[in-house]
């Protein structure tokens, strides 16, 4: 099959076995673990052109390209990653992984605990953004990458980027923090709590041992995802896309609870397609990682003090109509970086959708990414 221009083409995920033990923030220790990764592009001789992509709440290692010749759906950030794209795989060696605790092949609730021989399920420890960074650092060791040319992520991925610069300052040259926040608000935690309650209260949850019970908390997971999708779009975007349009063309109300408005159809579709690919226990712990993220906490609630650890240069990007991780939250990050005397540029992108915009090929957004990363490529000699 001819590879479409700008696509990395067909890619094959790899499973990386990490033998080192990892002490987690919760106090538990993992004696080795596995991470599913994908890589695009070539690592240069100096091993200086590696870029790490950190995924968001429901993401995974499949960021770009296709898994087979007849695969129709590309990776989740295919719009930005590929030859000639802003994250240019003809210049960079791009690494993306499924985070620890994920459900797409990395060690997590759906894999077997080697110490018990049973599925981890609900016993998989709640991991934090810090734990993820530590696990990603072990991955970097394994790949022979001393320092990333750039670590890039949107939303929860952007939080991992910030944590990298604080915990492993010498291993990150450039940090690209997109549609993120220095910590999430009470409102955001509230959304996460409702999502968790939807899963936990599903009769099919079975205390998290649903796989053994040959059940799945599908209704809860679906509700959690439907709620999430409301927060990923702005009011204006929802109005423009769905308005009050009824699915039946006759314009009459049906006086029942079947799908009637277009927006209901959209949310149900999002929910249904999510339960096919995602795990309830993973969703629970991912939302908890979001809630716990607060790098300033260890520095007397002074984010600037946290960023004084960092030596990376930063690019921070927000989207005008994103209300889940609003531009004001990105400005908090920027202000703390300026107060810490760090190099930072900040672009506020005029956008249409909301939080979801960070995955969209908005021309100004991609122009800024491209300009920034072109300089990084020159700097690292790729």
């Amino acid at each position: 099959m001819a590879v479409a221009e700008g696509s990395v083409g067909v890619v094959t995920p790899q499973k990386i076995v990490i033998d080192a033990s990892l002490l987690l923030a919760c106090g538990q220790q993992l004696n080795g673990f596995e991470l599913m990764i994908e890589t695009y592009g070539e690592l240069n001789a100096a091993r200086s052109n590696a870029v790490l992509i950190c995924h968001a709440l429901s993401g995974d290692h499949h960021a770009a390209g296709f898994h087979s010749a007849d695969d129709r759906k590309p990776g989740w950030w295919d719009s930005a990653i590929g030859p000639g794209k802003p994250i240019d795989t003809s210049k960079f060696f791009v690494v993306c992984l499924n985070n620890l605790g994920g459900c797409r092949g990395s060690t997590g609730p759906t894999t077997v605990n080697p110490e018990t021989g049973a599925l981890w399920g609900p016993d998989f420890p709640i991991v934090t953004v810090r734990d993820w960074v530590a696990s990603q650092a072990l991955l970097a060791d394994r790949l022979g990458i001393d320092a990333w040319a750039a670590v890039i992520g949107g939303s929860l991925g952007g939080m991992q980027v910030m944590q990298w610069t604080i915990d492993c300052p010498t291993r990150v040259r450039h940090a690209l923090v997109i549609a993120a926040a220095p910590r999430i608000s009470a409102q955001n935690i509230a959304f996460n709590e409702i999502a968790r309650q939807a899963i936990l209260s599903d009769p099919e949850f079975h205390g998290g041992r649903y796989i053994e019970a040959q059940a799945r908390p599908e209704r809860g997971l679906k509700l959690a995802r439907m709620l999430g999708h409301i927060t990923y779009l702005s009011d204006t975007a929802m109005r423009a896309r769905f308005g009050r349009i009824l699915r039946d063309g006759d314009g009459q109300y049906n006086f029942n609870y079947d799908v009637e408005f277009e927006v209901e159809s959209y949310l149900r579709h999002q929910g249904n397609s999510f339960v096919d690919r995602f795990d309830g226990n993973t969703y629970l712990l991912m939302t908890k990682a979001l809630d716990y993220f607060d790098p300033a906490r260890e520095f007397g609630d002074d984010l600037a003090a946290a960023f004084r650890q960092a030596t990376a240069k930063f690019l921070v990007i927000s989207f005008s109509v994103d209300w889940r991780f609003s531009p004001a939250r990105s400005r908090e990050i920027v202000n703390a970086l300026i107060a810490a005397g760090r190099d930072v540029s900040y672009a506020r992108i005029d956008s249409q959708l909301g939080h979801d915009d960070f995955l969209m090929p908005i021309p100004q957004y991609h122009a800024v990414l491209r300009h920034y990363l072109d300089r990084v490529a020159t700097e690292v000699g790729s």
Binding site: I338, S345, Y346, A347, R348, D350, H371, Y372
Partner: protein, 200 residues
């Protein structure tokens, strides 16, 4: 690349090496790039325009996309050695408030503006028209300049606000000084550069 505008070169002479700088309305970042090279400053630019932001990023200049008219409330008191604004004062909604904010955030402020007291401006007004001059070429209806002032007006604002004028350079539109400007500054100066400090 064209050579640095002479007014920007003059400004760089007013800036101590190694200082922290905030440049309001930094455009494509030419001044900050020059200051980073010649004065080893650590600087950030504030800029609202998408293309300028992209240009700064491409040039490796720290740029923060924000509207100066929204204020500098995000910046702490005395967090910069210098806050600079070139040729943007007259386009602000409230230049006096922005200047006060600049003096709060910066230990010193450097500001440049076109002098509306220039004889060409006065001549146009005497002839019954809004001025269109080489230094102010826009028409009255499409100009971005909504708060123009003369040298005398600016001096009066500094006096009334008790801002200290540390330095001043008065230039024609080719950024030269000259005898006529020295003799009658408010008639012959086209571009004014001021260095200010808040009341001591």
């Amino acid at each position: 690349m064209s050579a640095l505008r002479p007014d920007l070169a003059l400004i760089s002479g007013w800036i101590a090496p190694g200082s922290r700088i905030l440049d309001l309305g930094c455009g494509d970042g030419a001044l900050l790039a020059h200051l980073a090279q010649t004065r080893q400053v650590h600087g950030y630019g504030l800029e609202i325009d998408d293309d300028n932001v992209a240009a700064c990023v491409a040039a490796g200049i720290n740029v923060i996309q924000a509207d100066v008219d929204d204020g500098l409330t995000e910046f702490a008191d005395s967090s910069f050695d210098y806050v600079v604004m070139t040729q943007a004062l007259q386009a602000l909604v409230r230049p006096d408030l922005v200047l006060a904010e600049m003096l709060r955030v910066g230990r010193e402020v450097i500001v440049t503006f076109p002098n509306f007291g220039h004889w060409r401006v006065r001549k146009a007004l005497i002839g019954g028209h809004m001025p269109q001059t080489p230094a102010l070429p826009a028409q009255w209806f499409d100009t971005e300049n909504i708060h123009l002032c003369t040298l005398a007006d600016f001096d009066a604002l500094c006096r009334a606000s008790r801002w200290q004028v540390l330095e001043r350079a008065l230039l024609d539109r080719r950024h030269r000084t000259g005898t006529s400007i020295r003799i009658a500054p408010n008639l012959f100066c086209e571009i004014a550069l001021y260095k200010l400090r808040r009341p001591g």
